[in-house]
């Protein structure tokens, strides 16, 4: 079962007493704010969690896997996530057993 925005809003309602509308709005705004920063070319560093970084990729040759036809993959900017030490340890310890 995947965690979604609905459960995050529910947690803000249960644990912080935000009303349902405020909780939903806050969760939306939280992710929107990170996206806006990345869109404006800024990296986002959330200590204890991880960093969202930007990488510029050059154009490279690609292939349509169905037809085998060669088509260039255009130059693009992509987001990568580097998990922080704390998150890596938390996941490693809990998930390997």
């Amino acid at each position: 079962m995947a965690l979604t925005k609905a459960e995050l809003a529910e947690a803000l309602f249960d644990e912080l007493g935000l009303n349902k509308r405020e909780a939903k709005e806050f969760v939306d705004l939280f992710f929107e704010e990170i996206r806006e920063r990345l869109q404006s070319g800024k990296e986002v560093k959330l200590s204890g969690f991880g960093n969202f970084e930007l990488r510029n990729k050059n154009q490279r040759p690609g292939r349509n896997p169905k037809t085998g036809e060669e088509i260039p993959i255009s130059a693009r900017r992509v987001v990568t996530f580097r998990p922080g030490q704390k998150l890596r340890l938390r996941v490693e310890l809990d998930a390997t057993g």
Binding site: A11, L16, E22, E33, G48, V79, K86, R88
Partner: protein, 96 residues
Amino acid sequence: MTKSELIERLAARQTHLMHKDVELAVKLILDRVSMALAKQDRVEIRGFGSFALHHRPSRIGRNPKTGEAVTIPAKHVPHFKPGKEMRERVNDSASD
């Protein structure tokens, strides 16, 4: 942008919330996402992206100082896959 800058920006946009609550809310969201991953659950945020675990099998490594072979145990590492809207918005701004 750091976590404290994120908190400031959200507080400026959510003036009806107490600053302390904005801070707690940001920490709660990050904690829930981490908790889900620790339980091997996926996290799916439409338009933003999804977080999941990738498995790294056990391998033989070497202590770079002594040259001694050591077994590095299997582990899981968090992985983020950007969603469609995220990919498009980040890429569009690069070509402006």
